[in-house]
């Protein structure tokens, strides 16, 4: 894996980049170390039309339904000069609380796409749990395809394409199973079924079945 700032290779035990001294602590000095709440798509540069935004949200919903553990987020904004898109992606995935459908998703299963239309740069940041499924070539191909859309100004299509390609790559390493609604989750959320009285576990009605001997 590479350093977000200098792209030098960083091995697991390193807390700082040996080449440039980059670390998460260094970023905290610029961006803070508190948790930030973010939507899955943050368009600070106002690049997306409303239609593209809604379409991308549907795509991200499908992604999260297909991969219950993972999520995909995108940030489009003009960054300051002293920070690049890879550093911001690094910081967002470590400090961001993304507003996904399930709060139980961990950020180490997250993928963040950061686009800076001013510098025309884009980065794809992967969590620890899934970075092993994306080798350098795969990430490069995904970014090249995304970059071709970005070059045409199709930011919505770029997000959709990146999400779809990441899903294809993850599917190669994931295990398929039948989807079942999580009853425990709905109960935890305080939701009760409307027709609970029809279930076998409900209390039976007395005095109706045998009105008279």
């Amino acid at each position: 894996m590479n350093c977000p700032r200098c792209q030098a290779t960083a091995s697991p035990p390193q807390n700082t980049c040996a080449a440039c001294g980059f670390s998460a602590t260094l970023l905290h000095g610029y961006l803070g170390n508190q948790w930030v709440r973010l939507e899955r798509i943050t368009d600070a540069a106002h690049c997306l039309r409303l239609e593209e935004m809604r379409r991308d949200e549907v795509v991200l919903d499908d992604f999260e339904r297909t991969f219950p553990q993972a999520f995909f987020a995108a940030y489009l904004g003009v960054l300051p000069n002293n920070i690049n898109v890879a550093e911001l992606g690094f910081w967002l995935l470590n400090q961001g609380a993304f507003n996904t459908h399930s709060f139980s998703r961990r950020n180490d299963f997250g993928i963040v796409l950061v686009v800076d239309p001013a510098t025309q740069t884009a980065s794809l940041t992967l969590g620890y749990a899934i970075e092993g499924y994306f080798d350098g070539g795969v990430v490069e191909r995904i970014l090249q395809t995304t970059g071709s859309h970005l070059k045409q100004g199709a930011y919505g299509a770029a997000i959709e394409n990146a999400c779809a390609r990441c899903g294809e790559q993850l599917r190669k390493h994931a295990r398929s199973m039948e989807w079942q609604p999580d009853a425990v989750t709905t109960a935890d959320m305080g939701l009760q079924p409307l027709r609970g009285g029809h279930q076998s576990s409900s209390r039976p009605l007395t005095g109706i079945s045998n009105p008279r001997p």
Binding site: M1, S11, F90, T119, T125, A174, R175
Partner: protein, 391 residues
């Protein structure tokens, strides 16, 4: 009687007379005012009485009459005699031979009255308001192959007995007289100028020509004596018409032209719905095509050694024109079939795709959870991924 009593009596009598006179005068005046006065002629008629036969005159008249059974006596219905001549003169004979009865009888020797059926002989039916023949006829369905019967030997014999100049051969008299004459005149006109004589053999719609029929003997063998064309035409079914030409002409002519001739004749005949109109159109078109053929072959007839050859049939099924027609039809059919197949395939593929997509949507993908060691101080990511410049 006293004078005093006498005077009143005379006065009363005078008064009575005057009263009676007044009444009579009033009655006359009232009658004059209410009743119209009769004319002078009536007065004279009233005065003239009708002459009546005296007994002597009547006896003399009876004696002068002929006998009862003699000619010229109108007999009453019941056959009784009339004794009184006055009664005979006053009451006419109630029934007997009348002129209008004679006119109403079509079988009488007197010229019968004309009826609408007779008017049809020289007036078109449309003018008379009668339904035309084509309207009254129902649309005839094509005769199925199983219902086709070969022509009889008697029929062929009758065809063989036809004269060489009899270009319309209709032994069963299937063509009505008027159309027959028209067609015959047309064929004679064609034969006067054309090198290839055209003979038309009419068969019934449910008849077919046998394969072993010797067509050379038709029309007394005249078909083999010169360049000829024989059209065997099932009335009402021009698509089953068979066309024969002399073998020399057949060999000299391209197959494509002959095929186009058959197709053109068939196409022309199918423009009409009436069977006789179809025959007429078919024949006219064939005659025109034969003139074209004559222009291509030359007007000189074949030499003697080339004569006496059998007739060769123009098979419409093996012709290029027909193949062209079939090709268009088959192209349409095959195109429709391919489009239908593509449509069904597309619908099926879309259905399968939707089912797979739905099935995929109902499946989730669970990722394994590997043990990771943090890098660069990041809790959830250590710089995994990449960055590009897309400018």
């Amino acid at each position: 009687m006293t004078p005093a009593s006498h005077q009143p009596t005379a006065g009363a009598e005078l008064r009575c007379k005057s009263l009676v006179f007044a009444l009579v005068l009033w009655a006359c005046l009232s009658a004059t005012a209410e009743v119209p006065q009769p004319s002078v002629e009536k007065m004279e008629d009233r005065g003239l009485t009708l002459p009546r036969w005296s007994e002597q005159e009547l006896r003399a008249f009876r004696e002068s009459l002929p006998a009862i059974s003699g000619p010229g006596v109108l007999l009453p219905d019941n056959g009784g005699t009339i004794t009184d001549i006055n009664e005979l003169l006053r009451t006419p004979v109630p029934s007997g031979p009348r002129l209008d009865h004679l006119f109403n009888n079509p079988d009488s020797e007197i010229s019968p009255r004309l009826r609408s059926e007779d008017m049809r002989l020289f007036l078109p039916e449309s003018i008379l308001g009668l339904p035309t023949q084509s309207q009254t006829k129902n649309v005839q369905m094509p005769t199925p192959l199983s219902a086709l019967h070969p022509v009889t030997a008697e029929f062929l014999a009758a065809c063989n007995l036809a004269l060489p100049q009899e270009y319309l051969i209709d032994p069963d008299l299937l063509v009505p007289e008027m159309q027959n004459h028209d067609l015959m005149r047309f064929l004679e006109f064609h034969a006067r100028d054309a090198r290839i004589k055209l003979h038309v053999l009419i068969i019934a719609h449910d008849r077919k020509l046998t394969e072993d029929a010797d067509l050379g003997k038709i029309a007394s063998g005249s078909l083999l004596q010169t360049d000829a064309c024989l059209l065997v035409y099932p009335l009402g079914e021009p698509w089953r018409a068979r066309l024969f030409v002399s073998k020399f002409v057949h060999d000299q002519t391209s197959t494509q032209f002959l095929a186009e001739t058959v197709q053109a004749c068939l196409h022309e005949s199918m423009q009409a719905s009436d069977a006789h109109d179809q025959l007429h159109r078919y024949t006219v078109q064939l005659s025109t095509r034969l003139f074209w053929l004559q222009r291509a072959l030359g007007k000189e007839p074949t030499t003697a050694n080339e004569k006496d050859q059998a007739l060769a049939e123009i098979a419409p099924t093996a012709t290029a024109g027909n193949l062209g027609g079939v090709n268009i039809q088959s192209i349409v059919v095959w195109s429709s079939a391919v489009l239908l197949l593509l449509g069904v395939t597309g619908i099926t593929g879309r259905h399968i795709y939707r089912r797979l997509r739905l099935r995929r949507q109902n499946r989730v993908w669970i990722l394994p959870e590997p043990e990771t060691v943090p890098r660069l101080g990041g809790a959830f990511t250590g710089g995994g991924g990449g960055m590009i410049r897309y400018a």
